[in-house]
């Protein structure tokens, strides 16, 4: 971001500076909107597709609000389902972006620094999706204002959910500020003032860890659910987040490369791959530790794990999910650990997709759902998402990908000093 240095200008007075912002900031926003709705045919096809999926999701959600959450397959036994599973995963994805920020800002990895905004924008898109999933999971979205400090009654610091509201929104604001500031400065052709973003970048690094830790605390703080009640949960969440985040970013980098050509982000991919090589192994180690503790100890506290991995009393809806997940992650690890994977983008992308999907299952169907099965009174009520839940989920993902696409496009185009007509 500091690749372009502006000529030293005479320092404007404060009043002048404020006036110029009043003039330029709306134009900057206009430019963003313009970029969002302008592009080549590929962009239109992609965005139209995402919009359609998002609309299907919106319609499904509106129906759910009208007729009640009985349309989902959640129950009083499995009271959280696909929505909260996705929420948990996406918090990890948001935190995963920090794996670009740390090398870029702490270790001054120039290659990474050039494209670090990809990770920061991913954080924004992921957090937006998280918030959408939380809203989709609320029985009374009309009462959302009860959560607003000042207006409603915010049960802070007792409820971990209030901590989560704070850290997620804080992270969103931090990243909006960092990305927005850098883009605005670039839009105005000015060199960004380090004072206005470097401290926030460092806060955001700590904050990224905190969002996933607090999200893990949501679950591991519940004494009535032994499957979640483990101190390993937060570290496990972070380890898997640092697999899924870089995996997504690598795929995104290759997608951008396909769109704009060149050797975009080659150095960054290498660093991210090295990070994934470590984190995917740590993640597997943690899964193995968890599995050992559960099965070697035995007893009724481990019935969720038995249900998840092998089925219990003839109930085994989650068994295919978790073994696919384990298979995917192991396969991804094997591919990633190959020394020559960098030379074979197809293999690398396949490994990233496998790791991403594997972690998605592991954190959702493999972690949130079995926490409820068997129930606290050891009743076995199974859960498979309903069609409506899949629609809403797809809709939110489409909305998130749409936001991410637009954000990337805006960022790339604003960052390019020379803008050509063939840009995506």
């Amino acid at each position: 971001m500091n690749t372009v240095t502006a000529e030293p200008l005479p320092r404007p007075t404060a009043a002048e500076s404020v006036r110029s912002h009043w003039r330029h900031y709306p134009r900057f926003l206009m430019r963003l909107v313009w970029e969002a709705f302008d592009g080549n045919w590929k962009f239109y096809v992609w965005m139209t597709f995402l919009t359609c999926v998002a609309l299907v999701g919106a319609n499904a959600w509106a129906t759910q609000v009208r007729d009640g959450m009985g349309l989902t397959h959640m129950s009083d036994h499995v009271s959280w389902g696909l929505y909260i599973a996705n929420f948990t995963f996406l918090v990890g994805l948001a935190a995963g972006g920090v794996m670009m920020v740390i090398p870029a800002y702490i270790y001054h990895d120039e290659e990474m620094h050039k494209i670090v905004i990809i990770g920061e924008l991913l954080a924004i898109a992921s957090i937006v999706m998280c918030l959408l999933f939380v809203v989709a999971d609320l029985g009374r979205p009309d009462r959302f204002w009860h959560l607003l400090p000042g207006l409603g009654r915010f049960n802070f610091p007792f409820s971990m959910l209030t901590w989560d509201v704070i850290v997620l929104n804080g992270y969103l604001i931090l990243n909006l500020h960092i990305c927005g500031y850098l883009l605005y400065m670039r839009f105005r052709g000015k060199s960004p003032n380090r004072k206005w973003y470097i401290p926030f970048v460092f806060i955001s690094i700590v904050w990224a860890i905190s969002i996933h830790t607090v999200t893990a605390f949501l679950y591991c703080g519940l004494g009535g659910r032994p499957f979640w009640n483990t101190a390993l949960l937060a570290p496990r969440f972070l380890a898997s987040a640092f697999v899924s985040g870089p995996a997504f970013i690598i795929v995104a980098i290759y997608a951008i490369r396909a769109a704009i050509g060149g050797n975009f982000g080659a150095g960054a991919v290498k660093t991210l791959l090295n990070i994934m090589r470590i984190t995917i192994l740590i993640n597997l180690l943690m899964v193995i530790s968890e599995v050992f503790t559960e099965f070697y100890t035995g007893g009724s506290h481990t019935s969720s794990a038995r249900y998840l991995y092998f089925g219990l009393h003839g109930y085994n809806a989650l068994v295919p999910w978790i073994w696919s997940s384990i298979g995917m992650v192991i396969l991804a690890a094997a591919i990633l650990l190959c020394p020559k994977v960098l030379d074979r983008p197809v293999m690398l992308i396949a490994a990233c997709v496998l790791a991403f999907a594997g972690i998605w299952i592991e954190k959702g169907m493999g972690l949130i759902i079995p926490g409820f099965i068997p129930s606290t009174l050891h009743e076995l009520v199974e859960y498979q998402p309903s069609l409506l839940e899949w629609k809403v989920t797809a809709g939110i993902w489409a909305a998130g990908l749409g936001i991410y696409t637009i954000a990337l496009k805006v960022a790339i185009n604003v960052f390019k000093v020379q803008r050509s007509e063939t840009d995506v």
Binding site: V65, G68, G139, T376
Partner: protein
Amino acid sequence: MNTETAPLESRDWTRRDALKGIGATLGVAAFAKALAPLTEWTQDLSVDQFLQKHYKELSPMDLAIVLARLEKETKEQYGADVSIKDYKAQPGVKFGYALNLSICIGCRKCAEACHIENNHDRPSAQSYIRVFEMQKGSLDMEKGNAHYDHPVPQKDKFYMPVQCHHCDHPPCVSVCPVEATWKEPDGIVVVDYNWCIGCRYCEAACPYHARRFNWTKPQIPAEEINPDQSYLSNRIRPQGVMEKCTFCLHRTRNGKLPACLEACPTGARVFGNLLDPNSEIRKVLAEKRVFVLKEELGLKPNFFYFFDV
């Protein structure tokens, strides 16, 4: 400051822009259509309902208005004339409940009484009480079964009804992000059905499966509605909010026994004031070998189990 590119206003309007305009219009129309169910949903909602304050912030005047509005809504939506009151906790009272597992025969009359007394949704056969058929010689809930459907009691079984334990350290209360549920001075854990946002964190936190969610708008024929209702207990709940056992506070705060106790044909249930040394519940604690479920969680339930022998 002067390196900005492609200022919007300098471009001419083209066919491409017109197409974009049409696309955007279509998009907005599709969006409105997709969200149309929300319009139908809001027909049952009122502005007063939307803006209603938390129970603890309502002045006596506010509360009277709210209660009148709720009665009116019940009349409109369910066709029943009901009276919704607000009963406050009595000083010097802390409620406790005990259940004699030697006597319970598992007939589920308590669950049924709860269903009727508390105006539960009829199609889902909802009740705050779940009765488990347990293997004699084991308190392992994994060997329990709530879906038994044969004459009771069976010889090798005992029966364990479970409902809200009204813990002294209720995890459901701690986790609620909006303080929609709290512990009253008489020990009853209540929910403000008009404040709950329906996140179901409390349902995940409760280790006794005591909480229920209104997955749909409760269905109940007008003639079956129990008209003696109170704000914090058995009034008909809105869709999308949590509910739970309130020890029938509309009865017990008026000195009456809870509905599940009255329905129990075998007298397995004992209810009373834990602060009164002469109460029946205190005699259970003094005379019987009492245990609580999941004591190791440290939640200090006020619901006790005992065996006679």
